[in-house]
Amino acid sequence: MIPAPFDYEVAESCEHAVELLGDRQDAKLLAGGHSLIPLLRLRSVRPAVLVDLGRLESLRYVRDVGGQLAIGALTRHHDLQHDPLLQEHCPLVSYAAGVIGDPQVRHRGTIGGSLAHGDPASDLSAVCVALDAEFLVQGSHGKRTVAADDFFRGAFETDLGPQDVLTEVRVPKLGDAGWSYVRLTRRAQDWATVGVAAVVRASNGAAIALTNMAPVPVRARTAEQALQTRDDVRSAAEAVAAESDPPSDTKGSAEYRRHLAAVLARRALEEALPP
């Protein structure tokens, strides 16, 4: 319960954070700390230096930037849950943020921290993939934009390099598109055993992404293509696990997760589809 020794630096700005990271391979960024601090205390990770982003209030915002909403990486889950812009234009993010952990977790945990951690059980990761969100990354060579679907590389592995800071998430305005996020947790505060995020647009078809069904949040493209009309919901849901590679652990075997994904996908699509 006591971390191994580490150095501690406070970032005054994004640029300063990038500078502090320098060329050290063994540095870690600290945001809300809800993933990193337990790992430190268990000594599962032993960074030489922690760069604390926690005081960067400038990264805590939700803004309307035209067709999209821009979310600062340090915006807390509780803020996402209650933000009026998100509630109006992208309620999927608000809803999903509201089911994460418990109130204490939601008041500390941040969207950027959750995404950058790359946990396949993260609710917001699948939601961002379903939304085709874009991630803004600042590194030593300037800024770049990464599509959500390209961001996640493996379990706890992302596109972020050792000097990169995730600064902003851009999500689309959903307009009259239907949406849903359905998940099963053993206890209220647990990570999802399986989750299904669905966005159904009248013009543009469906987007379905799965939580904890592979080392990364995955798009269920076979199922998306199978869904043409409301009558296809059942068959599309059956196809949802096609591209998945679910884990087996104490919360469920891979076989059970595949079954569960189909059930939850059907429920998500029924909820997301316009009546």
Partner: protein
């Protein structure tokens, strides 16, 4: 509601939900736990623990740790062997031939479970001790491990202690009546196999210990987060060769135990040894990870139960066979735990013959020991599940089958020789059925089934009985338990009229300060706030036997009551002397002696007794009395709990939608405290049914070693409990009380699983392994579909 009220009324406090005395300090952070204590010159201890479930220890090199700048000392198990005069205490060997392995605070030859202590480091800071522990180099030579108790009994299984040539620790049995004959003539036989998964107690406060030595006098004071300061003193004194007079054990505020702190641990012995050796205070605080690995676990029993019944479902005989996973060593009462439940596999039912046998088996797992209910939840689960299986087999309603078989005459002499002193099982079953609206739920269930609802409804009962209080001493002696079952209390009236109550019980959440104050305030006629309960300090209190097994009130509280009677007895003589009347002429009520229109209060008598200026001839000064109570019988609470579940037949999710509990715990001293005990107990029982399991992989690694993976339920997973009460006064004690600390845990688990099985009965499901996870529900349904 059919509520029977006990006939005991003491005064205005007993029976009233007065506010808990404990809460203000707890809620404002002023209560002192072990980790709040810091002493000058204090050093920190950290253990090096085996990462392997079974390995020969080829070498331990502490030189790396000794080189750390904050380290004062570091030792292997070998280095410290001469500190111990005996193994860590084991107070219960159920049979003459029970195999008791050596159990040193640090192992020397082999590591036998993940978490077994191998070396210890002492440093100036907590962080330094933790860092330096990583610098100890241990060479482990892996050995094959076995964690499943049945696999451990198989031929060729890896041996946990090779010197025994077997993993079987003991086999103990109990038989009464004509068992073979009853089974031979039975019209219906139910044969079931159940598994009690391993559980981890998870007290919110981890264990911790501080030892302060006074080298000049040889005195050692140990603060420990323990349920048993008195038993710790006597056993550690013997183990360590410390004169009992020189060892003081203090249990300060203790944040829960659930049986896991009813033990004497390696870390206590190590802290004493190192304090004695180094002459400086030693502190150790358990990490949560260590709490999962190195604090005792519970349950881990494979059960086979058979009922012999008539075609009408009248049960005639019960046969039970148990295989227990003891883990790697015998802790304080590891081997004896099933004996607490050995008489209860017949449940609340009137049977003619009974046969019980249990075998304890060593495995490469954390030692198991008592966990809330200890032996009785296991027994209750088996019989309550089997009674439902019998009801299904004969096509009768489970309520009806229970009514048909209930013990109805009290006192009830069981075929096994024990006597249940009081009860009315029909009363609490009727009350619970009415509170629930049982018939209406059965109607809704039928309706859902008819319309093919994907969410099934299930109703499950548990009509439990319990024997608790742990005593009487003679009975414990006959069972091979090394201690007695009595309890002591001293009441001391101070000159200003306030009252100290010094007790041998050692509460850790049970509200003894509150409930004992209620009893004393009523009997002595003093204000509730003028009573102060002192506990958990072997120097301050009378010799006691601590807190576990629902004995606090039924044994300790009765000692308090009797001590108060002794105070009144002496006060009466003093009052008679001062009022110049015969004792027989004195009337006593609510702290006031009166005769002929003159009065004297107990407070006034107390001052007279202290001043001693005018006492009856040959009377000792002072107003103080001690009573040691040894009960004549166990305490026999009982009740009916009913769970209602909804099962999502697509995902396998179980939603516990209602929970009704009607308990008969005799006289209630404080209804709020009783409700709290029932809420906590029921929650732990539900935890076993639906959430909790210590999972080991085949290598003996604990997979569920954190709060994220070991699933203790939270309030969000639970419905609002609906509580009711019936009361039959216990004739075994003057207050008519019965134990309540474990009832909920004992009752809840079978009620919940019976409800789940009931919900899934249309699918042919008859059993579910615990915890009944969504996946297990899904698999059980898939299996019966073919």
């Amino acid at each position: 509601l059919a509520t029977i009220t006990a006939d005991v009324t003491l005064g205005r406090f007993v029976g009233s939900p007065v506010g808990r005395k404990e809460d203000a300090a707890l809620l404002t952070g002023q209560a002192v736990y072990v980790d709040d204590i810091s002493l000058p010159g204090m050093l920190w201890m950290a253990l090096v623990r085996s990462p392997s479930a079974h390995a020969r220890i080829a070498a331990v090199d502490v030189s790396g740790a000794l080189a750390h700048r904050e380290v004062i000392a570091a030792f292997s198990g070998e280095h410290l062997l001469d500190e111990w005069q005996a193994s860590l205490p084991c107070a219960w060997l159920p049979t003459q031939d029970t195999k008791q392995p050596n159990h040193w605070p640090l192992t020397v030859d082999e590591a036998r479970y993940v978490g077994d202590g191998v070396a210890v480091v002492v440093a100036k800071t907590r962080e330094g001790a933790r860092d330096a522990a990583e610098l100890v180099r241990v060479e482990y030579e892996p050995l094959p491990a076995v964690v499943d108790p049945e696999a451990a009994l198989a031929d060729g299984a890896p041996l946990v202690h090779k010197e025994f040539g077997t993993n079987r620790c003991y086999t103990w049995s109990l038989s009464a009546g004509q068992v073979e004959e009853e089974f031979a003539r039975a019209e219906v036989i139910v044969k079931e196999r159940y598994r009690q998964q391993r559980l981890i107690p998870n007290a919110i406060e981890p264990r911790g210990v501080i030892v302060q030595p006074v080298p000049a006098t040889g005195e050692l004071t140990m603060w420990s987060s323990t349920q048993i300061p008195h038993i710790a003193r006597v056993t550690l004194s013997m183990m360590m060769g410390i004169p009992e007079t020189k060892l003081r054990v203090i249990a300060p505020q203790v944040g829960g135990g659930f049986g896991s702190k009813l033990n004497v641990y390696a870390e206590e012995a190590l802290a004493l040894a190192l304090a004695r050796r180094l002459g400086r205070p030693i502190k150790w605080i358990e990490t949560r990870t260590e709490g999962y690995l190195a604090t005792t676990h519970g349950r881990d029993v494979v059960q086979q139960i058979e009922l012999a019944a008539t075609s009408e479902a009248r049960i005639r005989a019960v046969r039970a066979r148990l295989t227990l996973g003891l883990g790697a060593y015998l802790q304080l009462i590891t081997a004896g735990v099933p004996l607490f439940g050995a008489w209860l596999y017949g449940g609340a039912y009137d049977i003619a013959a009974y046969d019980f046998e249990c075998s304890g088996v060593f495995t490469n797992a954390t030692p198991s020991d008592s966990y809330r209910g200890a032996g009785r939840p296991e027994a209750t689960y088996a019989i309550e599940r089997a009674v439902d299986a019998l009801a299904r087999k004969v096509g009768k309603d489970p309520v009806q089958v229970r009514r048909l078989n209930f013990i109805a005459e009290f006192p009830a002499n069981l075929v096994t020789g024990l006597t249940i002193d009081s009860g009315d099982y029909h009363a609490h079953l009727d009350a619970a059925v009415e509170m629930l609206g049982y018939e209406e739920l059965r109607r809704q269930q039928a309706e859902r089934r008819k319309r093919g609802d994907a969410t099934e409804l299930g109703v499950g009962l548990s009509t439990y009985i319990e024997m608790c209080g742990v005593a009487p001493s003679r009975m414990l002696g006959a069972l091979g338990f090394e201690s007695g079952g009595w309890e002591a209390a001293t009441i001391r009236f101070l000159p200003t009229g306030t009252v100290q109550v010094l007790v041998g019980t050692s509460p850790h959440g049970q509200s003894h300060a509150t409930t004992f104050s209620q009893i004393v305030a009523d009997r002595l006629g003093v204000a509730y706030d003028d009573v102060e309960v002192v506990h958990g300090d072997t120097t301050a209190t009378p010799l006691g036997l601590d807190t576990y097994g629902s004995r606090g009130l039924t044994v300790g509280g009765i000692a308090v009551y009797h001590a108060a009677e002794r105070i009144i007895e002496k006060a009466r003589r003093i009052a008679a002397h001062h009022l110049q009347v015969d004792e027989a002429q004195l009337h006593y009520e609510d702290g006031i002696f009166s005769a002929n229109g003159r009065t004297l209060t107990t407070k006034e008598v107390a001052l007279q007794a202290w001043a001693a200026h005018d006492l009856p001839d040959e009377m000792e000064p002072g107003l103080e009395a001690t009573y040691v109570f040894d009960p004549e019988n166990f305490s026999w609470p009982a009740g009916t709990h009913i769970a209602v579940v909804e099962v999502d037949t697509e995902t396998g999710e179980i939603d516990l939608v209602r929970y009704v509990a009607v308990d008969d715990v005799g006289t209630v001293i404080n209804p709020a405290v009783v409700e709290g005990q029932v809420h906590g107990g029921v929650t732990q029982g539900i935890g076993q049914a639906l959430f909790e399991e210590a999972v080991y992989d085949e290598d003996g690694d604990l997979v569920t070693g954190s709060m994220a993976s070991y699933m203790v339920p939270s309030a969000a997973e639970l419905p609002s409990f609906e509580l009711g009460q019936t009361a039959t006064s216990s004739p075994s004690n003057p207050l008519g009380v019965k134990g309540v600390g474990e009832t909920g845990t004992i009752a809840a688990t079978p009620a919940v699983i019976n409800a789940v099985v009931d919900a899934l009965s249309p699918y042919g499901v008859t059993n579910l392994e615990m915890p009944a996870t969504p996946e297990r529900v899904w698999r059980a349904m898939a299996a019966t579909r073919g």
